[in-house]
């Protein structure tokens, strides 16, 4: 699953350790999430979304739709 976690983290100016602390996970988890090696559980995905004030599908994309919606505010909807 694709995600724009690294970008969101960068806009906040946080290190991986900062994000890990904010989420209550290990820094290795944040690294694995960002590099796409690990897909989070639903509870963790919602925690991440809540932290950045976004919806889960604005951060994670299952790539099934073909085109990515990541980072787009769906104002047109």
């Amino acid at each position: 699953m694709k995600n724009n976690l690294r970008v969101l983290r960068a806009t906040k100016g946080w290190s991986q350790g900062d994000l890990a602390d904010a989420l209550g996970v290990s820094r290795q988890s944040v690294n694995a999430l960002e590099t796409g090696k690990y897909d989070p559980s639903l509870p963790l995905a919602f925690r991440i979304a809540r932290l950045f004030g976004k919806r889960v599908d604005e951060i994670f994309d299952d790539e099934l739709g073909g085109s990515s919606n990541l980072g787009q505010d769906r104002a047109a909807e």
Binding site: N4, R6, V7, L8, R9, A10, T11, G13, W14, S15, Q16, G17, V25, S26, R27, Q28, S29, A32, L33, G36, K37, Y38, D39, P40, S41, L44, L70, G71, Q72, D73, A75
Partner: protein, 217 residues
Amino acid sequence: MVSPAQPTLNEAPEPSGKLGIGFWAIWLAGILAVCAAFSAAMWWIQPQMSDLLGMALGGFAVLAFSSALIGLAMIPYRIRQKRGIEGRMREPYRRYTMRFMPAMFGYVVLLLLAVWYAKQTSPTGIVAWAIAIAPALPLLLAIRAIFLLPREEDDEYQRERLYRAHALATGATLAICTVWGFLDMFGVVGHAEMWVVFPIWAACMGLARCLPLSGNR
């Protein structure tokens, strides 16, 4: 509207936990040196192990060897800790260490005492059973500690990695022991006692933890 599609990655550079090949070469040489020193010490101590002093020396050598190996194994972790990559030891690992280490200490002490007592008295019946089971009991506590660790791991990514390593180690142990068992049955390899399954599993687990079992993709 924030458009993170073209972000400026003005983040602070992440500290690197990577250690050079020179470090790993020295580290490996250190482990080999400790193993060689232990083998040499045991070669000297073993003929004297029929008396209590020899047994105590043997026990001391085993404990020193284990401590040196654990100390060496912790060095990469300590370096990463100094570089700010690793935080303090997390609670599940602290609990695991507090369960595992006393169990292994108890195992070494009980094993040496049991062997010494059995040599002295050649026990039979219920006493022989009690002597034989004594070293296994702390190992059961060690096994309990090993299997409680992933259960108590509160980081889902680390838990996933641990369970994957457990599955791989268990599969590899089954494979090794099954093949060995048949080779043993047909007399083409030496006979192994059944307790070797624990060290085999532990070695497989050690190797599995080095593999990049890093995700659920």
